[in-house]
């Protein structure tokens, strides 16, 4: 794990079960059992009436202290699709509106316009939810319930700015008049968005962005399509950290990140392909916004290995993504039979996780083994 993993809720949601034996062959659209859309969903071994088609939005909703996901589903029932709001407990990840969703209650129905025309919503200034749109170039304040624009709500249209821009992801800081937005590889930082918008900087991402989340008036979080997590200060702007999700999976269909501003933790929705029987495998992952040390690299000499001289050896305490971890203490020990001695048996890590040891070599030729270790405590 790279960011400090707290818990995973897997699966975090379910699909509606068929409630009878699955079909041995794919049922036709219109047959003895009536109208059946997407018949492959209930062809053995699959036996669920739904599957995820798209994750439109995933964000932390501070008013209700919940994690919200707006999903588009393919279904076997009319009209062949569904658009639902999934609500999760921000503390535990428990699925709170399970009954409502599985019973297809109107309470969790969000309608096609919110789910299909609104994308990649995230919390922003004044605890409101803002989103880019598939149907227009504007960025709007939206309803957390339906994902539809709030009537009379705040909006801007970057397509009217210079340079004209169309975004898929945006973080809105109305207090400081800032906007950080991206469409693929580059995070554009705008200021004076209420008066004369000016794109004052751009940050290059390590891969195509998959989701962007607001943390504060200064910071935002992004996650790429391969699970790399980046934190940016969009006021300066600069990158603050690069990390990744725990065990990034090649078959993951998408990663969606949000930041729980109450608990100060990052939450990732990992959209995974369905199980062989069609069961939902998507999961919620909770992380502290710090890197967990997982690896201590082998100490490598960086000075000449001369007899009678001091030799510097360098090791790194890093997370899975190679991020340096500090402050930690790395201990070194020469395993017997030792012929030289370790002048610095303990070293503190630098920001990049580097720990440095000085070894005094004897006058004669020898082979030594340096063992390094670090004690990582759970918070």
């Amino acid at each position: 794990m790279s960011l400090w993993h707290i818990r995973t809720v897997s699966p975090c949601m379910e699909y509606i079960e068929l409630g009878r034996a699955c079909y041995t062959t794919t049922p036709p659209l219109w047959g003895p059992d009536g109208l059946i859309y997407n018949g492959h969903l209930i062809t053995c071994p699959r036996h669920y009436k739904q599957t995820t088609n798209d994750v439109a939005n995933f964000f932390y909703e501070p008013g209700n202290d919940r994690l919200i996901a707006h999903l588009l589903l393919n279904t076997t029932y009319w009209p062949g699709w569904d658009a639902r709001r999934y609500e999760f407990d921000a503390e535990t990840g428990k699925w709170l509106n399970r009954d409502s969703v599985l019973n297809r209650s109107s309470d969790s129905w969000i309608g096609i316009w919110g789910a299909a025309w609104t994308r990649d919503a995230t919390m922003g200034s004044f605890n409101k939810i803002y989103a880019c749109r598939n149907s227009e170039t504007a960025i709007r304040e939206i309803s957390w319930r339906s994902a539809e624009p709030v009537e009379g709500g705040w909006w801007v249209d970057p397509y009217t700015w210079n340079p004209k821009s169309i975004y898929s992801f945006a973080v809105v800081n109305r207090v400081d008049g800032l906007l950080a937005a991206a469409s693929s590889w580059t995070l554009d930082c705008w200021r004076n968005i209420g008066t004369t918008p000016e794109r004052f900087a751009q940050l290059r991402l390590p891969n195509v962005l998959n989701y962007l989340a607001y943390e504060s008036r200064r910071n935002c979080w992004g996650i790429t399509r391969d699970g790399i997590i980046v934190k940016a200060d969009y006021q300066i702007p600069r990158w603050e950290m690069t990390s990744q999700v725990q065990n990034p999976a090649a078959d993951a269909r998408g990663y969606y990140i949000t930041y729980d501003t109450k608990r100060k933790q990052a939450v990732v929705f990992r959209w995974l392909p369905d199980a062989a029987d069609g069961a939902c495998r998507s999961q919620l992952e909770f992380y502290y916004p710090v890197v967990k040390a997982t690896l201590l690299t082998q100490p490598v000499p960086v000075t000449s290995l001369k007899a009678g001289e001091r030799v510097m050896l360098v090791s790194h305490l890093v997370g899975d993504a190679g991020e340096g971890v500090t402050p930690y203490t790395v201990e070194g020990e020469l395993l017997p039979p030792a012929e030289g001695y370790l002048a610095t048996p303990v070293s503190g890590t630098e920001f990049n996780g580097r720990a440095c040891f000085i070894y005094q070599a004897p006058w004669q030729t020898c082979t030594e083994t340096l063992k390094v270790s670090a004690n990582i405590e759970e918070p």
Partner: protein, 315 residues
């Protein structure tokens, strides 16, 4: 030949089966290396630990830059952008050559690297396999040329020290340290094993390479001893009751001097006879030219005969 101080057992392999490493850069903020493949970025540590960092975006070609953090050339705009110190990715907010466009023939590539020093407003381009042209970064004019006679394209040109670049040739492992700012000459020549991609660690002054076998090799910037000459007296006639200067030279595989090595001296008798005379020191250190010196005092009792001097280096 520079001294190899480490060779990894771990292999640094690109994720894509058809991918290959194209560049390797030392990033001071990481104290590790950024490996750039055709379609991948990775963070590589000296012991061969690799962490995938991202996907390479098209349209940028990396090159060496002053103070160690690389720069990126964007062929579409012909602009040079510095890399973000924290992650090495191109920083489009800054343009190092606002007034001059680096054309295709002058831009860097994986087989023919370049270097930019925006502090001194210079751009180093390999005009031939034996010469570097130094351009004015402001107007794009060649200010002067530096002849190095390496006979091959440098595939890595990395900042080594103030006004100096370390240039490496992957096919032969040839290394040239070139003073591009003041002396405008090759100040040091050496060699490492042939490699696939190489970098210069400007913090520890090491050469770090990724071989075709995908192992990481670390070479410190000191010559590995290969030959120690027989001791030579400065005056052929050795005299008793007087200090006779004697010295031996330590050199590398290609005859280059080895500085800073301890040479051990021993005075031995010949046959059954005891050693005659005395040595001033048991060990002495080689100087910049590879010479280690000592003093021999002949016997003070008028004895005559033969003695042997033995010198050795321990490493």
């Amino acid at each position: 030949m520079y001294e190899k101080v480490f060779e990894s057992t771990k292999l640094v392999t690109p994720d894509g089966s058809y991918d290959a490493w194209r560049h390797l850069f030392y990033l001071p903020a990481w104290d590790a290396f950024m490996a750039v493949g055709n379609s991948e970025y990775a963070r590589v540590f000296r012991d061969g630990t690799k962490a995938r960092f991202g996907v390479r975006s098209g349209g940028y070609e990396p090159l060496g830059r002053v103070r160690g953090v690389p720069a990126w050339w964007k062929p579409w705009t012909k602009r040079l952008h510095p890399a973000f110190e924290i992650n090495g990715l191109p920083d489009d907010n800054q343009v190092l050559n606002p007034a001059w466009e680096v054309e295709y023939g002058v831009g860097p590539s994986a087989t023919r690297q370049a270097f930019v020093d925006e502090a001194a407003r210079l751009y180093l381009h390999q005009a031939t396999m034996n010469r570097i042209d130094v351009y004015d970064l402001g107007v794009g004019q060649v200010l002067y040329q530096i002849t190095h006679n390496a006979g091959a394209w440098f595939t890595s040109v990395a900042w080594a020290d103030a006004g100096q670049v370390a240039c490496l040739v992957k096919s032969t492992g040839a290394v040239r340290i070139i003073d591009y700012l003041r002396g405008r000459v090759v100040v040091e020549a050496g060699r490492v094993d042939p490699f696939a991609v190489g970098a210069y660690d400007c913090r520890h002054h090491n050469f770090v390479t990724l071989g075709a076998d995908r192992k990481v090799r670390v070479y410190c910037r000191e010559t590995l001893p290969a030959n120690l000459s027989a001791p030579q007296f400065e005056q052929a006639q050795v005299r008793a009751l007087k200090a006779n200067a004697v010295r031996a030279r330590l050199t590398g595989q290609d005859g280059e001097p080895c500085a800073g090595w301890w040479v051990h001296w021993e005075l031995l008798g010949v046959g059954q006879g005891a050693a005659l005379g005395y040595l001033d020191r048991n060990v002495s250190k080689t100087d910049e030219d590879g010479w280690a010196g000592n003093l021999y005092y002949g016997p003070d009792d008028g004895a005559t005969g033969q003695s042997r001097l033995r010198v050795r280096v321990v490493y």
